[in-house]
Symmetry: C2
Subunit: 445 residues, 2 copies
């Protein structure tokens, strides 16, 4: 628990602009920071000691007011590329035609629903559109709690699933003080250092134990909520299939599984549209958000019809903006871009290239720890040269050095020592090499 408490502080502080303004700031940046503090108050969190003042973006590039161009390895929201022309055109066109809620009929909405659902295995045949990943996970929790009659949810130690009241409870990484309530239990992420060689078996056993512990305290089990790439825990993708035992364990206890695809979804992992599909499992509920509209605010919940029916018998549910015609146009353009630009294969190839480059550099870069992940969702551990221990301070310094070299990246994991590589999926081999070169330059110095 001591480590978890420290972990939260690390994550929350990571890469944030300190309130006392450590760095010397350009005039335009200083002015914006001052305005921001006045309007946004305490919830104003900025990246970097000297925050970026953005004036443009394209593909995997971000342009700032000081004339610099940054290679973006952080932003997975503009997943098919910043300002992808297909998405820009689709949103602009539909904004000018009509944009009303979905209690009327529109062609685009149903075209999109069908195109999206075609990417899901049976029996996941219904979709409910929302506006954010948070709303998606909030609805998903209602679905599985209603169906099981249980409140108890198991998540990973450093999980983040969103920002509503209910979803914050299942997001231990959001707690600066205190901890989630008794109906939420955490388990370590799936890695041999926690579970030994058979990660799947160990992870499943931990989930079973957590669920039983809740049940023993009179809290019936609802199920498992899991980001299928474990992004905020530090990125855990291998071996494909390890999630299968966990799904079986949940179901053996009468629970249901929500796969949170906000991070891995929409082809990012390079071989499958969804993170869960890499593991050969079928969740009961799948939630989507960030990359779904390439920045247009939209999310969704895909599930079995009976779960939705059960819920709809108890509650009225309508999402005013959810699946509106402009969101649908954006969503269709994203699906088109993934297919037409070959982004899944690009994610696989470029991600593998980065892993290869970093693995090859390890001999010259003692601070380079484990490199893991899938496609263009990678975790790169930064460790102490002496003993290989996690080194969050070095990771933070590295992030700022990379920024000086024109590369934007973030970190994850309970201690914040895992670089999180999740660029727009259009990242080129040349751009990937630029990142690998910069890593080598800095870490071999």
């Amino acid at each position: 628990m001591g480590q978890t408490a420290r972990a939260k502080k690390q994550i929350l502080a990571l890469n944030a602009f300190p309130a006392d303004g450590g760095a010397a700031l350009a005039d335009d940046v200083a002015a914006l920071v001052a305005r921001r503090r006045k309007s946004f108050g305490a919830t104003s969190v900025l990246f970097y000691e000297a925050p970026l003042h953005i004036v443009g973006a394209k593909g995997a590039d971000i342009f700032t007011a000081d004339g610099r161009t940054y290679l973006d390895l952080y932003n997975n929201v503009p997943s098919v590329g910043h300002c992808h022309p297909k998405v820009v055109e689709a949103v602009a066109r539909q904004m000018g035609r009509y944009n009303t809620h979905t209690r009327y009929l529109f062609d685009e909405v149903h075209d999109y629903a069908e195109r999206l659902l075609a990417h899901f295995p049976a029996p996941l045949t219904n979709v409910a559109f929302t506006c954010t990943g948070s709303e998606s996970n909030d609805l998903a929790l209602r679905l599985i709690r209603g169906a099981t009659g249980g409140m108890g949810i198991v998540v990973t130690d450093t999980a983040y699933h969103g920002n509503t009241t209910a979803v914050t409870e299942v997001s231990p990484s959001s707690y600066k003080t205190g901890a989630p309530p008794a109906h939420v239990r955490t388990v370590p992420p799936p890695h041999p250092r926690h579970y030994g060689a058979d990660v799947g078996k160990g992870f499943a056993a931990a989930i079973t134990a957590a669920a039983k512990a809740m049940a023993d305290e009179g809290i019936p089990f609802a199920g498992l909520l899991v980001d299928t790439i474990f992004s905020s825990d530090g990125v855990y993708a291998d071996p494909p299939g390890f999630l299968s035992a966990a799904f079986d364990a949940v179901r053996a206890l009468g629970g249901l599984v929500i796969a949170d695809e906000v991070q891995p979804g929409f082809a990012r992992t390079g071989t499958h549209m969804w993170g869960f599909a890499r593991h050969g499992v079928v969740p009961d509920v799948v939630t989507m958000g960030k990359p779904m509209g390439n920045g247009f605010p939209m999310g969704g919940v895909v599930t079995r019809p009976e779960l939705l029916t059960r819920f709809a018998n108890e509650f009225g549910y309508f999402n005013t903006f959810g699946g509106n015609p402009v969101a649908s146009a954006a969503g269709l353009a994203v699906l088109d871009a993934i297919a037409e630009d070959g982004l899944m294969e690009n994610a696989r190839a470029v991600g593998a290239h980065i892993v290869g480059r970093l693995d090859a550099a390890r001999g010259r870069c003692a601070a380079l720890g484990e490199v893991r992940g899938a496609g263009l969702y990678l975790g790169v551990e930064i460790v102490a040269r002496e003993d290989g221990a996690p080194d969050p301070a070095a990771a933070s310094a590295l992030i700022n050095r990379l920024r000086d070299k024109g590369i934007l990246i973030g970190a994850a994991g309970p201690l914040g020592h895992v670089l999180k590589v999740r660029p727009p999926l259009c990242l080129t081999l040349e751009q990937a090499d630029r990142f690998a070169d910069a890593m080598e330059d800095i870490l071999s110095a």
Copy 2:
């Protein structure tokens, strides 16, 4: 309670397309309905016996696939007018420039935050951007519960504040079975029929009693969450100032007040930017949604800095899409349109014209009950000719007759007998007359 239970069923069923398909449908409509049922399942709720297949919209007009034009008195999301050119242009332009989350600096975001905050009285000087009214109310609940240490919330009998787990609890109108939990208590809406002549005093006393009843059961009071036009309760606007006693009562008990401006906000009530301002009160937290971006998914929470600080000390909060540059561009365009198109004054004048026309028609239309509201948020009671009792069946029939005459409108209130007039704010006097003429035609027959 019997009435409340019936009320919920009425509201939820109101105007919905029945699952067994009562009406004969055009081929395109039938095909879309079939596709919709397959994709959306149980959460697919459509308006009208024969749903509308929309292919365009402009100003207060909606165009359908069968070549008809409908006058839209229902949709308050496209508040400055369907497809307002300023909003369309702003979104299209910004989509093509950049659209990233707000942990970087952007000019537009801070221009918008300041322009928006300029419409609020001290000490409401901080804003947190969200994507929906639901997210706004969810965050607002967290703010006041954290600050007071209480869970207890008072809302009105037929309140609707959104769709997250926490916000559904404070939305009695969303319950098809059961009722909100013990930490949510309801009071009748502010009308003489519930409280006698001094509505403000009676409403305040009811809130005090509800809060004390919770406290007696060991549930400390957090505060009042109130839609300042009481839209889903049936629209209650007068006399201006009646909310003052309620705010005082809440504060006397150590509670805080959330003003939900999703419905009345952004100039709709004709004389003020916000519903609370009509009452001369200052809430602790103000929440916004629907009309904020004219259909672009965005919401916001405006509050006192200390409430946000207290919250941010306990929880990390970030909203990925909230206040992004495109949302900010849309929000700025909406504020411009309200000012440049004179929409507040238009709402006042056209709303008053409708009230005048309906009041004048009452002698010839026995089913016309009380007409109330402010600006372009009006409630029109439909009553039985014989005894003036609420007549939801007549309201439902009227809504469908109006639709036949090319006018779209909805209903509200616990029984669903209150027509809800909330068109885009650009509604013209000529369009208002068309509505009044149609009402007279139908109701005097």
